[in-house]
Each structure stands twice: as C-alpha cells, then as structure tokens.
C-alpha cells in the first residue's frame, strides 16, 4: 500500500506502508546508527518521535525478546529505505514489520531516506505526518502538522510505582525520567541495589530512603517542559549524596543549578559521536540520542566545569560539579551495546558511593 511522509515545510516523500497504517503526526528525527533499530524504537527517549534510519537496510536480523530497552516500542513511527520482510539471526523471534503492527507503530518504507536526512539536517528537525491517504486539504494538514507538540513525555514513560532490584552493592535511587534497560543493567551488573522512582517523586521521599547515591536517568521531550520537576531535583542534588546524571537527567541537574538548555538544530542521534575528555584530552566515540544540549557558559564555573565536549560542534557533553560529588554526561555512558569506553563512569559513581561492598 502506498503511503507518504509529509513534512511541515510541505515536502512529501512517497513510500509504502509498513506496520500500522494508521496516520500519525510526530517529530521526525534521523539516526545514523547502522544497527540497533530495536533498541532505538524501544528507548523511552524515542517517545513521540518518527525515527528515520539513515542506514538503508533495516529489519535484517528481525526482532528478539532480549534487546528491548523497555517493555514496548515508544517511537511513534519508523521511516526506512528498505525493509527486510524476514529477519535472519539466531535470536530472531519475529520479523520487524509484524512487531510494529502489533504495537500499532506506523511505518513507511521505500523512502528516499538520504534526501530526507539532508533536508532535516539543513532545515533542522521538523514535524511530519505519515499517511496512506493523501490529505484532501494540504494546507489544513500542514497546519495540523506544524501545531503538533509533544507534551507530558516524561510522565508518559516514567514508571507509575517504585520498583526495586536487590543487590549487594551500594543502594542507588534512580529517578526514572525514561530509563533504558541498558543503563539499569550497567548499575545492576556492578552489584548495585537499585530502586526506581517515578519522575514526580519528592526529594523528601528519596532522601529519607537512606540511599548511597542518586541516579538521574535520561528521558524524552523538551527539558523546558520539566520545569516543574526542577525544585525537587535541586533538593535531591543539594543533599550530600553522590549524583550521576545522564541525558535529560544531566540537563535537568544543570538547569536546577541555573544552567540553560537549547535545542540542537537536528540533534545528536547515532553511534559515532566523538567527545573529548577535557582532563585527559582523550577522545571516545559515544552513542547519543538527544535533541537538546546544555548551553555553553550558561553554568558558572564555580558550580560545575565541563568534563566532556563534542569535538564536532563543541557542545557540552559532560559536567563535573565542583563539590566533587556530582557529575553528569549527555551521551549514553554505557554505549550499549558496545565498546565499554566510558563504562568507567559507573565505576566512578560507585567509588563516590563508597565502592562495591
């Protein structure tokens, strides 16, 4: 069945429907990772997004039950060049398309994804609509597309109830802004006893729990929409607990201390983002999946110093707070799954908490 993607600037990309054929409007972002579509789709960070895979052959190894970053796909849509109708891999449990259909994820294949990516790169991220029936009134549809805004993203993905995973190591409170399994596993693999709290948990509750450290997770959406969370986060961070922030957690912690965030033109999404450790000068290749960044010089050096910078656009990729107890990074520190190049950040967190027990 023919389908098309209509961007808010009026550009139209024809293709074929895959997965759910329900029309949908979402923010269209491109990701340059050459593998890992299942992880990307199931990452809570992807909520409300239509993901364009720049790699043209998608679905090659199907979908399995082990590699999801959460219980379900969160992305709203998937846009690919060529879909493999069946997956080939020893762990493959089903093909990508039927999995998308089951979760009601709208998909479109046969799209000239490189042209689409170039447009998103040059114009910045845009909203778009995927539909199998051309809109009768294009102007109306475009207005609708432009008006789309993702709201309450964090609330949508954060857990409803606290969850607990036992462990012999330090006790970590995780503020779930949209955490991925890989991050949780990075803590659990190191023996941490992990308790996950909903995003709107009060500082009081967490601080009362006698935790050794606080982990502020990644999460989706515009950080500006989380302003109401900042006072509680500030309180949590002001307590003398070691804090490790990642992604949205990194941004909210900076904001809580007076920093500002800004939107990147088209985000950092992919597996090849080089960041420099400002202390050692060494560069690590990281996986990233974010659209906002902490603004340069928006945070006083008396509060925090920049620990990592992106060597391509000089954006802030990490902060170390001057009290020596708190640090945060913008990239995916576990680089899951892959080279454990920045896994030592978890070890640092553990050390701050007094080490493994």
């Amino acid at each position: 069945m023919h389908a098309e993607l209509i961007l808010e600037n009026g550009a139209r990309f024809p293709g074929f429907s895959m997965g759910s054929s329900e029309p949908c409007i979402c923010e269209i972002v491109f990701n340059t990772s050459m593998t890992g579509y299942q992880e990307l789709l199931t990452s809570p960070v992807a909520v409300g997004q239509g993901i364009v895979m720049t790699y043209p052959l998608i679905g090659n190894y199907g979908v399995n039950n082990e590699d999801s970053e959460s219980g379900r796909p969160w992305a709203k849509a998937l846009i690919v060049r060529q879909l493999a109708r069946r997956g080939s891999n020893f762990r493959c449990q089903r093909d990508l398309e039927s999995w998308l259909t089951d979760y009601g994820i709208t998909g479109i294949c046969g799209v000239e994804t490189r042209a689409l990516t170039r447009m998103l790169r040059d114009n910045g991220t845009m909203n778009g609509m995927i539909t199998c029936t051309p809109p009768e009134n294009l102007d109306e549809a475009l207005e609708q597309i432009r008006a789309y805004q993702l709201v309450g993203a964090v609330d949508a993905v954060s857990c409803r109830q606290p969850r607990h995973y036992g462990g012999d190591g330090p006790r970590v409170a995780v503020l779930d802004l949209g955490i991925r399994e890989s991050l949780l596993n990075s803590l659990r693999r190191r023996g941490c006893s992990v308790t996950i709290f909903p995003a709107r948990t009060s500082a009081y509750l967490i601080l009362r729990g006698g935790f050794d450290g606080l982990f502020l997770s990644e999460g989706p959406g515009a950080p500006g929409q989380c302003a109401d969370l900042l006072p509680e986060i500030k309180k949590m961070c002001d307590a003398d607990l070691p804090v490790f922030g990642v992604g949205l957690g990194h941004q909210l912690m900076a904001m809580a201390y007076g920093g500002e965030v800004e939107k990147l033109p088209y985000g950092h999404r992919g597996g090849s983002h080089p960041v420099r450790d400002t202390e050692t000068g060494k560069v690590v290749i990281t996986a990233q999946d974010h659209g906002y960044t902490v603004k340069n010089d928006s945070l006083s050096p008396e509060i925090a110093r920049v620990s990592y910078v992106n060597i391509n656009d000089n954006s802030i990729e990490g902060l170390t707070y001057t009290d020596g107890r708190k640090f945060s990074v913008q990239f995916q520190p576990e680089s899951s799954p892959g080279f454990t190049g920045t896994g030592f950040l978890f070890d640092r967190f553990l050390a701050l908490m007094g080490g493994a027990r």
Partner: protein
C-alpha cells in the same frame, strides 16, 4: 601530540611486484602515504621494485629507488640516503617483513633509523602466531584452538588431539600462501610440509576448522595517545573457509544484531589497544551463526587489501590518516578530509551498501582448479556502491567484465536440477551463479542455506532479484513505469531488462527516459549526510534527489575511463596511465572526471580527479555519467582494453574521443582493414588468415605453413593463444577456444621465431616521438608481458631502429593515431615484421617513462588536446638513448594457482613485474633477477636440464656454460644423451614415472638450485614436463622454461662476484645533464 618535528627524512618501503594476495592496493596506500608525508614537508625516500606503480614517480617521492626489495639493497639505500625513520606499515606484508628484518639485523640501529608508528614489539606480537595467541589469552579474547608447530609430526599430534578437519596457516606469508584445510593425516602432512617451507620463519599454525562460521572484519585505527576508532565493518558472504581475498564481501555487516556488532567492535578495539598499534589495523573474526561464540582469526598490524576496500567503502582515507598518526598526530588533530569541518576521530556512518567481488584469473587459466579455499586466487576485485544490496550486487557483477548482465551463466541453464543441486556444495568462483540458478529453479533459500551456510539474509536478497527477473519476463511486452523503476532501483541494466522482456536495449532506455527514470548521484560523505560534505565522490541510484554538483567552471570537462579490476594482461600500469592523464589534464586547465570500479587503485581516490564516479564500466553506466556531466571530450586510450571497448559507445553518445578515434582502434583490431593498411604501406607481417571454423583453421595453417600462431581477435594478454605445429594441435586448441562464444574471428598466423622488439610512441598527426625501443630476451612466441624486456636494445642495428621508427610513424598516421601507439615487431631473417599494433597505452609505459625521463602520458595527453610534439621540448623521432640499462622482469603467482602450467607461451601468465636499472647491463639484469627473487646457482651447485627435442641442440651451449662454472648438471635420458654426445658431463636422472629416486625426488631433496625445462606442446596435464614444472613451483625451486632466459641468467652468473650493484635514484635519471 602534534607532529614530531625531529622527522625530516622518511624511508617508505613499497610492496614490490603485483602478485596474487598483494596487488594495487599498496600502490594506493603508499602513494597516499607519500603525499601525506610531503604535505608535512618531510623528505621522502621510496623503494619499490615495481616500476608500474604511481608511488615510484619522481613527483610522488623525493628520492625513488626501483631496486630489489632485499635487506642488502635496503641497507645500501639507508647508507646512502641516511633517512631518520622508516614507515613500515604501508607496503603490505613485503614491506613489513623487510622493515622487521632490518630491525632484527640491527641495521636500523646502526644507522640510527627509527621505526615509525607501531613498534616492532607490537608487530611481532600481532604477526607471530604464538605471541599473538598469548596476547589474546591475556586480554581474554578467544582464539580458535590452535598450535604453532615447526614440524609435521607436531602438527599431526595436535590434530589427533583436537580432531579433523584442521586449517593450516603458515606464519608470515601473504594471501595465505601454502595454507589449506586438511581432512586427514595424509593431507595434513602434505599441506603442512609445504607450509613450513613457505613460511619465512618455518612455522605453521594448525587450528580447529570453523568453516561455516560468519567471517567478519573490522578496520580499526589507534593513535599514540590511545584514541581508538572503528572505520568499517565488513561481512564475508562466503562463510569462514574461503580466503577473505576470494570472498564476496559486503560493508557494513548486514546480519549482525546490535549486540553482536557491539561485541565484536569492543573486541576489535580491545585488541588494537592491547597490541598498542599506532596506525591502521585489520582484525578478522569468526562468529558462530548460532550463538555469541566468536574467535579472533587474524590481526594485520598494517594497511591491507581490506583497508583499501574500507577506505573506498567509507570515504575515510585510512592510509593518509595512518601516516599522520605514525608522524605523531593524534586522531582528533587530523581534519576529516571529507567534511573538512569535523576531525578524523570519528567512526564513519554509511547510508548505502558496498559489495566487493573478486576477479579471478580462470578465464586465462582454463585448466586451473577453480576451487576456492584458504589460498587466495583472485588477482583483483571490483566494488559497487548502491542504496540496496541487490543493486550493489548487480552493479558489481556488471563491473567484472564477464560478458554477463546478471548472475546468469548460459552453461548453467543447461544443467539439470539435480546437477545444480550438486553444484551448490562446490565452493568455486561460479558459486553465486549456481545459487542464483538454483533459486530460479525453485530451490529455496532455506535449502541453499543448509548446503552453503550462507546467511538467509543474502539468499533472500538474491531471491528478490530472481523474483524481479520472473516479473519482468512475465510481463506482456514492456513493463509499466512503476515496475521499470523498481527494476532500476534493484540495479537491473537496460539490456538485462530488454533481454528478459524480449526487446531491444534502446527500447527500454527510451521507455525509461519517457518516464523520467534516470540515474541520480549520491555522495560518499563518511557521515550518512549528518554533516555537509564536499567530497566529489559519487555513486548512482535511481532516486529523485541528485547530489552531484557540476559547477560551471568554464573549463573543458574531460571524462577519463579507468581500467576496472586488475587481471592478468591488464594490471596496475593502466591505472598509472589513467592517473597521469588526469594530472596532465588538470595542468592543462581541464576539469576531470574519472569512472572506475576498482577499490584498490589510486584513480579511485576522491582527490585525484575533480569528480569520481564509482560505477561499472559499461555503456549504460557510462552514459548515465555522460548525461550528468556532458563532457567536452573523453579519454579512452589509457584505461586498457576496458576503456577502449567503450570508445564506440562513447562516440555514439555524442562525446568526442580525444586522440585516436574509435575507428582508428577498429582499424588496428580488424584483421582485414589492418592488412590492407600494411599492404598499402608495404610493411611486412607474418602471413596469416582469418577463420571461423576448425576446418578453415587447418586449411589456413597448411597454406601459410607450420608452425602457426592461433588466437582469437579482440583479446588482451594473448588470451587463448597458442603455437600449433600440426593439424592435431589446431584441432585440440580450437575445441578449447570454442568453449567460449566467438563473435569475432580467429587468426591463424605464420609463426616467425625471431627477436621480439616493442615500442611505445606518441603521435600528434604528423610527428612521432619514440621514448625508447625495448628488446625482449625471449624470442617471439612468448607473450611480451611474460618476456624479460631490455631497454635500450642490445641487438637491434641502427638501420633496423630506423625502419622501426619509420614503420611506427607510418602506421600511426595510417591509423589516425593521436596520442599513444604500441607496436610489437619481430626481427626475423634480417627484416622487420610487424606483429601487433595497439593504438593505446601499454604495459611498458610506466617503465619507459621512468627510465628515459620522458613524461609519456603527459605528452600524449597534450597531443590529444591539440599540441604539437615539436613544441613540447622532448623532440621528435627516437629520443636519445639513456646511458642506463633497464631490465623489466615478469613475476608470476604460480604457487597460488594449482594446476596452472608454468611453461611460458603466447598466452600471458605473469601478474606483475620488477625492474633492474644500472649503467651496466649485467648489473641491471642481476638486479632484475634478484628483485624477482631468483637465486643464481652457485659454483658446485646443481641444476636439472630437460628440454624438448627441438631445443636439444641449443641446450648444449647453455649446459656447457653452466659446466664451465662448476655447476653439476642432471638431465633426463634424452637430454643427457645429447649432452654427452657433445662431450658435456651430465648425470642421468630417472623420469617422473620411473622408480624412485627419480626427478621428482631430486627436486624435493632441496639440493637443486635451478630447473631448466622447455615445454612440449599441448595442454596435457599428465605430461612429465607439466608435473616437473608444478613440482618445482610447489617446492620453491626456480624453473625456467625458455633457454633464452637461462642464457640471460648465465650472463649474470658469469660475471658473478665482480658485479657490484649500486642503488640508483631514478629522480636523477630524467634530469638532463
């Protein structure tokens, strides 16, 4: 860590002659490295014995030595040039081994020369089997169960413990020479013995056979401060068991989920970190398709064939970056040459699919075993880029120049289903054709997967191609626009669609244009469009958006057609010519466009031409580029037969051919037209006839008189050419060439056994310039590419030289040549005969350019653009003879190709060449022999002499010369009798079929220095001569098959220790005194 300022002068070691396993990729790597060094203001000293390379040009390095790649000559050069450092990792295994030897023998230390980049300790740990295993164990990386042994006994003991089959890999060899899979003790002993002998250190690795696992490669890079990146992942479609050089390879990996990919990527980065590599490195893994189990197969701590492929596949200039890293830069200090805004410290993201297919020499060696295994057999490769696997595959298949449009071989369509099913388990060069045929017959991907163990993903993709074939074949008449577009997106050529639909190519093309279905070009930008890039490196797709930017520069735009994959008869020399032509055109103010499909070459580097189109060299693919670029003219005479074949098509596209027209090419190749030109000019040639059938051939041969030379017209490298002495020879040979369809006639010529002479000339319409006349050591009958060639000629009298000059000028004029012409002559009976005329560049151009200092390609290019030779400063007619002798010696790869007869004849067999230069002929000859790795028999040494009857008389003088030098001669009965009759002392050795000890035992004993065996006629593989020659190859004993070569060796031998070869900087040669 910026540039180390103490570096002033760097020695680069090249990889030597082109052999199977070490081809043009090292010219590409070395040239890029030299340019990177010069960019930093560092003086470059280069040594390479291969004159056909671009790196040995005086504008690439500051000091160029075309000298034997031996420790002795390197030591001399180091002593003379006193470089402060050496860059060892860009000259292939040859360069690396030499650098290690220089280090081990203390020579580097003596002259205070530093090894740049990866340290010798690291190289040893990566290269030495045991050292490598220990290192892997330390960092917890799994290897395959294996052991390093130095004797077959130990190998057998180990195999008995871990069980058969086992794989044998010799240490320090290239292309897996001497390796193989042993299924039982007998085969293990056989392969093991050979492997130990071939290894430089007498070691072999015996390992558990994991054939059937996925073979995955990573190209990784590390700098001094420890930054590590992966540049490209590659997946061999052929599972473990087929050498990666013989595998069809796709990049990036296609069937690995993120977890497996991440696991292997981590492993690769951990390995390069543990080995402390500083530069590029290739790591090969085997991955169990049914689990996370993997094993590290091999690490190459240097640039390799795969790095060249990875470079071209991603646009990441690995050789350049590796060089800068060796100079001390860290990766983040090196700019990304593609985006120019980001740094080299990143991992390329691609948004297309890349496919490489090897080019095998089996069309040349009809009798060779086509089976593929751990021993590489391919001479070259093609690469294709497309947005889908299907299109990449179709493009790559077209690029192979196999006269097929798709994976469809007529001979397979005649096989029964059962036969096809059986063929699936045969691992040879035709397996992909068989698989596709099987899918056409309805054998399912699942069944094929069980037999071939190729991943279902790939089989599904090929199946999709087959389904498209069926859809097209089923449509009544022409496909509709939608279907046509889908077929084009899948990479189907117009002519294949036409073939399937039963119509003409032009009809499909017109339908396509009528529906606006045209090729669009996409950029290779290293970053999947994430950053804006300006690389002029493109591939075609059938998409809407066209990214190729054709700026209106006001310059004349010239299309240069490349020469495709390296094969026997069309080697690296044509890339040399193409690249030089591009440079010359640029200097003349033209804008240049290259079309080529060979990832190993310099010409496919994106900073050579103004724009590079990585495309198949077929009329349709070239026409698409022409529509895009609308060139002012096209250059076809530098790209070998591949480009020449396209001359007519390009003319029909309305693009003027610069230089000789396609009609001139036709006149040289069309027998009748050419004969009439010779008649008009009264230039003699051997009597001959044009025939189509066997009976006609026999009649023609009897008319001109035996012996005759029989060959198809329109071929390169003397493909399918033979000397026939009687009717029987003709009949058997005709049955062989008729196996392949002949649309062109067969030529039967009187065979003149004289001295062969070759010239390259530049003609501007009126004047000719011949840089030099070259004489062949071997008499006519041995292909010019396989003969030792000597410049200046030793035996061509002045008057004959004048005749050659006159004939060349006359022929060039008559054929309408503008640019290059290559002519082969025979001096026979005190007269000059023409054998063959090629109105194009030739194999000898690079070498004659270097030794005479005449920039042949530049002059030819200028002439093509209308300049006159008179005005170019090099004069006309015969260029003054150099005071240096240059001897070009052919290099063969026989040890890689089982069942190929090593006897030389009119069919070309060599894969590469080396050059020896000196002001004394014997020294030049000695350098050439030593560059070719030929040992000269020592006094009191032993040789075996066994020649065909026709040569017996001549053999006497050769034998006498050896005996006079105290060399002991063994001969088979007939030859021995002849020698004794002539009063020469010789010992009889029993023939092949006689009881031990016979001649084969003598060869195996390792006490023989040289074998001289001249082959009798015929292609029989059971002949004694064939077995002796193969046995010699397999036991590493040099074997000469022409008495002329033996005589040349005697010249060197006679002078013996009185020869003192000195290295010669060829940059000084061309300079006028």
């Amino acid at each position: 860590m910026p540039l180390d300022r103490s570096l002033k002068k760097v020695l680069m070691i090249g990889s030597g002659p082109i052999v199977i396993g070490q081809a043009a990729e090292f010219d590409y790597a070395g040239t890029q490295a030299c340019r990177a060094l010069k960019e930093e203001g560092i003086e470059v000293v280069l040594i390479n014995s291969n004159p056909a390379t671009i790196m040995t040009d005086s504008d690439i390095a500051d000091h160029v030595y075309i000298e034997p790649l031996t420790v002795a000559s390197l030591t001399q050069i180091i002593e003379k040039e006193r470089p402060d450092s050496v860059l060892p990792t860009l000259g292939g295994q040859t360069g690396l081994n030499l650098a290690m030897q220089l280090h081990e023998e203390g020579i580097l230390e003596r002259y205070n020369v530093r090894l740049l980049g990866t340290s010798p300790e690291s190289i040893r740990r990566a290269e030495d089997r045991q050292g490598f295993k220990d290192t892997m164990e330390e960092i917890g990386q799994p290897c395959v169960d294996s052991t390093v042994v130095e004797s077959t006994e130990d190998a057998v003991a180990f195999a008995n413990r871990i069980g058969y089959p086992v794989i044998i890999r010799p240490a320090y060899t290239l292309g897996g020479t001497g390796g193989g899979i042993a299924y039982d003790e007998r085969s293990l002993r056989e392969i093991g013995e050979g492997g130990i002998r071939m290894s430089r250190v007498g070691q072999i690795l015996v390992e558990r056979c994991i054939s059937g696992w996925k073979e995955i490669e990573f190209e990784v890079m590390r700098d001094k401060v420890g930054n590590v990146i992966t540049i490209c992942s590659m997946e061999n479609i052929d599972p473990v068991g087929v050498h990666t050089g013989d595998s069809i390879v796709v990049a990036p990996t296609q069937t690995l989920a993120a977890k497996e990919y991440g696991m292997l990527r981590s492993a690769a980065l951990e390995i390069i970190t543990a080995l402390k590599i500083e530069g590029g490195c290739n790591i090969q893994f085997a991955l169990n398709p049914n689990s996370f189990q993997y094993a590290v197969i091999e690490v190459n701590p240097r640039l390799s064939r795969s790095s060249a492929l990875a470079s071209k596949a991603t646009g990441y200039p690995i050789a350049k970056v590796a060089t800068k890293v060796a100079l001390g830069y860290s990766l983040d200090e090196i700019p990304n040459a593609v985006t120019r805004t980001t740094s080299a410290c990143f991992e390329p993201a691609v948004d297309y699919c890349v496919l490489k297919i090897p080019k095998w020499p089996f069309d040349k060696f009809l009798t060779a075993s086509r089976k593929l295994g751990t021993q590489m057999k391919a001479t070259g490769e093609v690469m294709a880029i497309a947005p889908s696997f299907e299109a990449a595959l179709m493009k790559a298949v077209r690029s192979l120049e196999l006269n097929v449009q798709a994976l469809r071989l007529n001979k397979l369509t005649e096989l029964s289903d059962d036969e096809i099913y059986d063929r699936l388990s045969v691992v040879d060069d035709e397996r992909f054709f068989v698989i596709t045929e099987a899918l056409r017959r309805g054998i399912t991907p699942e069944e094929i997967n069980v037999i071939t163990q190729m991943d279902i993903f790939f089989l599904d993709r090929i199946h999709a191609i087959v389904r498209m074939e069926e859809t097209l074949a089923a449509c009544e008449g022409l496909p509709d626009a939608e279907m046509l577009l889908q077929a084009k997106k899948m990479g189907f050529s117009d002519s294949y669609i036409a073939q399937l639909c039963g119509t003409e190519t032009t009809v499909v093309k017109e339908l396509r244009y009528a529906n606006g279905i045209t090729a669009a070009y996409k950029m290779v930008d290293t970053c999947a469009a994430e950053y804006a890039a300006a690389t002029p490196y493109y591939y075609s797709s059938y998409d809407k958006e066209n990214e190729a930017d054709v700026p209106d520069s006001g310059k004349r735009r010239v299309l240069v057609l490349g020469s495709g994959p390296i094969r026997i008869g069309q080697g690296i020399e044509f890339d040399y010519c193409s690249v030089h032509s591009v440079w010359a055109l640029k200097n003349l103010g033209c804008e240049t466009i290259i079309v080529n499909n060979n990832p190993e070459t310099v010409s496919t580097d994106f900073d050579i031409a103004d724009r590079l189109y990585f495309e198949p060299l077929t009329p349709e693919d070239v026409e698409n580029v022409v529509r895009q670029e609308k060139p002012w003219g096209a250059v076809v005479q530098f790209g070998g037969q591949t480009a020449i074949k396209l001359a007519k098509a390009v003319t029909e596209m309305g693009v003027p051919i610069l230089g000789t027209s396609s009609d001139g090419v036709d006149a040289a190749e069309d027998r009748e037209r050419f004969d009439s030109i010779l008649r008009d000019l009264k230039i003699p040639r051997a009597a001959g006839k044009t025939v189509f059938t066997t009976d006609e051939a026999v009649a023609a041969a009897n008319e001109v008189g035996y012996p005759v030379l029989v060959r198809p017209s329109y071929v390169l490298g003397g493909q399918g050419m033979e000397i026939a002495y009687n009717d029987q020879n003709i009949r058997s040979f005709m049955s062989v060439i008729n196996q392949t369809v002949q649309e062109h006639p067969i030529l039967v010529d009187k065979y003149l056994m004289g001295r062969e002479v070759e010239v390259d000339g530049i003609f501007d319409g009126e004047d000719i310039l011949i840089p030099g006349i070259m004489e062949h050591v071997e008499r006519a009958g041995i292909h010019s590419g396989d003969s030792i060639s000597v410049y200046p000629p030793l035996h061509v009298e002045e008057r004959h030289q004048q005749t050659i000059l006159t004939y060349t000028r006359q022929l060039a004029k008559a054929l309408g040549v503008v640019g290059l012409i290559n002519i082969q002559f025979i001096l026979y009976d005190d007269a000059v005969y023409v054998i063959e005329v090629n109105p194009r560049s030739s194999r000898t151009i690079p070498y004659i350019s270097k030794v005479t200092g005449v920039p042949v390609i530049e002059l030819a290019t200028r002439v093509m653009l209308g300049e006159r030779l008179k005005d170019l400063g090099y004069g006309v007619d015969l260029y003054p003879t150099s005071r240096y002798y240059a001897v070009k010696m052919p290099i063969f790869s026989f040890e890689k190709l089982a069942d190929v007869d090593t006897g030389l004849g009119p069919e070309m067999k060599s894969t590469g060449e080396v050059l020896g230069i000196s002001d004394e002929y014997p020294v030049a000859l000695l350098k050439a022999f030593s560059g070719a790795g030929m040992r000269v028999p020592k006094p009191h040494g032993r040789i075996i002499l066994t020649v065909k009857d026709a040569d017996k008389e001549e053999a006497v003088s050769v034998a006498r010369a050896f005996v006079n030098m105290d060399v002991e001669i063994f001969a088979t009965a007939g030859t021995c009798q002849t020698l004794r009759d002539a009063g020469i002392e010789a010992r009889t050795v029993s023939r092949v079929n006689e009881a031990s000890p016979n001649i084969l035992d003598l060869i195996r004993s390792g006490t023989v220095d040289l074998i001289i065996n001249t082959p009798t006629q015929g292609r029989r593989h059971d002949s004694d001569g064939f077995r002796i020659r193969r046995y010699a190859v397999e036991h590493g004993v040099p074997c000469l098959t022409s008495l002329d070569t033996a005589r040349a060796l005697l010249i060197v031998e006679k002078e013996g220790s009185s020869l003192h070869p000195q290295p010669l900087d060829i940059v000084t040669l061309g300079k006028k005194d």
